[in-house]
Amino acid sequence: MTFFKKRLNLFLYLVMFFLLLGAALPVAAQVPASKHVFLIMEENTSYSSVVNTASSTTYMPWLVSQGNLYGHATNYLTNNAGSLLAYLWVSSGSCENSARCTLPPGTNNFGCGGGSCTSTITDDNIYREMAKAGKSWRLYAEDIPSTGYTGLGQTVCPDPYCQYDPHHNGPIHYSDIINSTTQANNMVDFSQFTTDMNAGTLPQYSFIIPNNLHDAHDASPAQADLWLQNNIAPLLSQPYFQPCGDGILIITFDNDDLDQSGLVYTAVIGPKVIPHFVSNVRYQHQNALRTMLDALGITTYPGDSATAIPMKDFFGAPSACPVLSTTALSYGDQTLNTNTSKTVTLTNNGNAAMSITSIIATGDYSQTNNCGVSLAAGASCTTTVTFKPTVLGIRNGTLTFKDSAPSGSQVVTLTGNGVSPAPVVSLSPSSLNFGNQNVGTSTTQVETLTNTGTGALSITSIAATGDYTQTNNCGTSLAAGASCTTNVTFTPSAGGARAGTLTYTDSAAGSPHVVNLTGTGVSIVSSNTYVSTLGVDTNVCSRPSPCLTFAGALAKTSAGGEIDVIDPGEYGPITINKSVTIDGGGGLTAGIVTGGNGYAIVINASNVNITLRNLDITGATIGFSGITVGPGVTGVTLHVEKCVITSFAGIGIDFEPGAGGQANQLLVTRTSVRNNVKGGILIANAKAALNAVASARNSFGVKAIDGAIVEVRRGSAGGNTSQGYAAQSSGGAVQLSIVDSISAANGGNGIDSAVVSGGSAIIRLSNVTVTENTGTGLANSGGGQILSLSRNGQGTNNISGNIGGNGAPTGVFARR
């Protein structure tokens, strides 16, 4: 056991030793992996010409500036005279002609020269390897006549494609391209390059050949440089050429000024190139080929690239390269002591693992992360930063990554604003539309109030207007995050659009909060409606679907229609605003009881014709008035048939319409009006006919006042506490005719004609019995007249037995 433990400890020491050793030793330089490799081949310019600042025609200032900014080779020697051979060297690592070079292993003689080969090259090449590896490539050839064009001859100007030079197109000499349309179609015009670049669809390997005017072949190197600046500079703005990007651009020349093997300027450009690097290592085109193959991850090396060293000195040792998804986070307003989280992604775009020393958030910010202590090349990790302000106001902080990248640390600035807790009202939906609804019927929708804020919401009131009512479960306070509902009920009172509002008055910003309510009342009225004690007022008041109250039915009864009663019951007080007949039915007790100080029936519309029939209208000694008309209405015709109007604290029938005089008419038939404390029937400003009307035990029986013309037949007025029948003028004309009737046992005068203050009062009697009254039988005052119908000069009325005296008519009128 002890022995085993010692062995284990020794093993651990060794592991730690090698780990420390690995961290401390310099790692050899290598070409970084890249999915964005670019090669541009220029023509026939020596190194010395390119860098010759004294020459306005050969100096290539842009190229040199890029070579200085990134890296360039000072000892790059081209292989063979003749253009095409350079393009073959960077394609298959060979001159492909045993007479021009010692054929590298694996390559063969295809008789190639500066312009063409005697046979199609079948050796391995970069295009074949790219295809085998499933990697994309394209040749961007300026002015190539068409996509996939493999022609070998150059056209003569002014042919539009005359500047395209097949001698500078390597791929068209390989069987891979000639025999495959797919591969051939990787050759496109240079105009496609900008399109692909902007679309983000550039291939992993792009081979760019400017035309003869732009590659220094037929024009000056300075012009070639200008073309580079105009067409290639934008490439360097792409993300893969930004820090930590993987872009690699090599710009070189096929040969020296005389198209001979010589030193040429070669720039190596990319974020991972050691800045300002100058390489004195002897390189040739096969080294450039090897460099690109290594970057692209191709491990089968055509021709001499198998043994050529890559240009790795440009890149130095692998390094980490951290990239943040953002360098600033803004949290906006945040309620004190609440929190909001945002994330930052850290990606290692380098080609070496990055050790993470610390991740620290400052201020009112805290962080959690899944980064661990090391982030592998190409890997990402996420840091969640939480803002929880502790005091009001702007709260700044930083998130700092300390790591092993050359820069050492990455910083994200953090900003936010601490605000006080506050409620926020959110109403859903923002408005309610109830659509069409029958008048007098109801439908309900639900409005939801949510406090999306951070403080409790105080609710002062919730109110609905118009034809809308509401009930709610909101209470007076709603906690942050809580919801409550309001049931809004639409009961249109009339047809047409019925707008309203639901208003929340509360402690949140923007109060009052208003929800617009819309709906359309649909009037369904019929000429004959019904009530029943088993009905409901939301019904249409039809015979099978009766309503519960007269008031409910009236709304659904057309003007001039009739409300009928199905069964005995009490159908409530009603205000009548249109012509209508209400019939309690002959065999029923259809009642109205009026409680409190209320009115049983009020007629409040002008120019209406109303019939009340077979109704038992009871005040139960507390209701104020049985039937009330006026004073604001005119043109009212009221029929009261076979009704009882009893026990009101006020008047049984108070018929006092406004101006219109005799256009107002009251017709009462076979009706009892009794026990009404302020009087039985009071008529003003109207014509009235009372037939078989019993008026008993009221204050007065029947009283006609200003503007009334009343006829009574077969009536009885008995036991009233004041007059039985009275005409009383206070400025207007009053006429009361009584035939075949009786006034008996009243507490005041039996018949009383009085002019109180101007005007005239005339009572005409025919066959009227006036007896047993406590006051005077026939009384007149102030010039009021009582005229007795006479036969042969004698009246026809039976006046006797009145305690206060029988009195006498003031005159007679003759029968005719």
């Binding site: 008995g718 075949d740 066959n767 047993e772 006797s800």
Partner: protein, 315 residues
């Protein structure tokens, strides 16, 4: 399973009714029905069985209505009330043997009976019995009172004079052995009343002031209309009416020590077995006259037509 559900519903309904009852002890309008129950609150949906059961649940000044035809039992009225049987169905009261159908014994109340049949079926004692001290107002509208062994309407408050009031409209009193309508110590107005085939038709006695219009007293075994002052004066005024076919006098003014006056106008008195216009003990029977001539039609009475004791000129 279905039946079980029904039971649950029924139980729920009863609970609701009982709850309602506990909150509605005195309503302004109560209801009786032939299928009601006096344990109910007498509401429209839970009616009572009898008028007596309903009255205790009806507020003073309120109304008891009948939902359907039925016999709703004798009732002792102790508060102002309206009892309305409804115009169509027959709501009736059949008292027990020797009992009154409606008994009013409380002073200062105002009672209406409307659309009701009070049926003594030859065993009940009295149709409407008023024996209260004073201040009684009774309206009888469209009521039929028949076949009692005693009186149809016995309106005899014990005090208060004409503060007591009887109003009878469109009412029939018939076949009551003791008599049709007896009024004492009250004022009364009878309009379109028929009092037929009773012991007598209408009798006004001590303290009564009765006015009759458009009414009949026919076929009674005794007198048609009679006033009789014994302990106090009595008056009866009759207009536009008929007294016929009675077993005794048609109209009789019978003073028994107190002034008694009957006034008649446009009354037909005919075919009575006794005297048409009779008076006794100094009772006055005054005929309204037109042009010096009475206005009444008195003829064909078996015991003689009699004559008014005087006239009153019409005015």
């Amino acid at each position: 399973m279905r039946k079980f559900h029904s039971s649950i519903k029924a139980t729920g309904f009863i609970l609701v009714v009982l709850t309602a009852a506990s909150f509605a002890q005195a309503q302004t309008r109560t209801w009786v029905s032939g299928v009601g129950d006096d344990a109910n609150p007498c509401s429209r949906t839970a009616p009572c069985k009898t008028f007596a059961g309903a009255i205790s649940k009806t507020a003073s000044g309120g109304e008891i209505d009948a939902l359907d035809p039925g016999g709703f039992g004798a009732v002792n009225i102790t508060k102002s009330i309206t009892i309305d049987g409804g115009g169509g169905p027959v709501a009736s009261i059949l008292p027990g043997v020797g009992a009154s159908a409606v008994n009013i014994s409380t002073a200062n109340i105002n009672v209406t009976l409307r659309n009701i049949e009070l049926a003594g079926v030859t065993t009940g004692a009295t149709g409407v019995s008023v024996s209260a001290a004073s201040g009684v107002v009774l309206h009888l509208e469209n009521v039929a009172i028949s076949s009692f062994t005693g009186l149809g309407v016995d309106f005899e408050p014990t005090a208060g004079g004409t503060a007591n009031q009887l109003f009878m409209i469109n009412t029939t009193v018939r076949n009551n052995a003791g008599g049709g309508i007896l009024i004492a110590n009250a004022s009364a107005l009878l309009d379109n009343v028929r009092s037929d085939f009773n012991g007598y038709g209408v009798k006004a006695i001590d303290g009564a002031r009765v006015s009759v219009r458009d009414s009949d007293a026919s076929g009674n075994t005794n007198i048609g209309f009679v006033a009789k002052g014994t302990a106090a004066s009595a008056e009866m005024n009759i207009a536009d009416s008929t007294s016929s076919n009675n077993g005794s006098n048609g109209i009789h003014s019978a003073s028994a020590g107190q002034p008694t006056i009957v006034r008649v106008s446009n009354v037909t008195v005919t075919n009575n077995a006794g005297i048409g216009l009779a008076n006794s003990g100094g009772g006055q029977l005054l005929s309204f006259s037109q042009g010096g001539q009475g206005t009444n039609n008195v003829a064909g009475n078996t015991g003689g037509d009699g004559a008014p004791t005087g006239t009153l000129p019409r005015q």
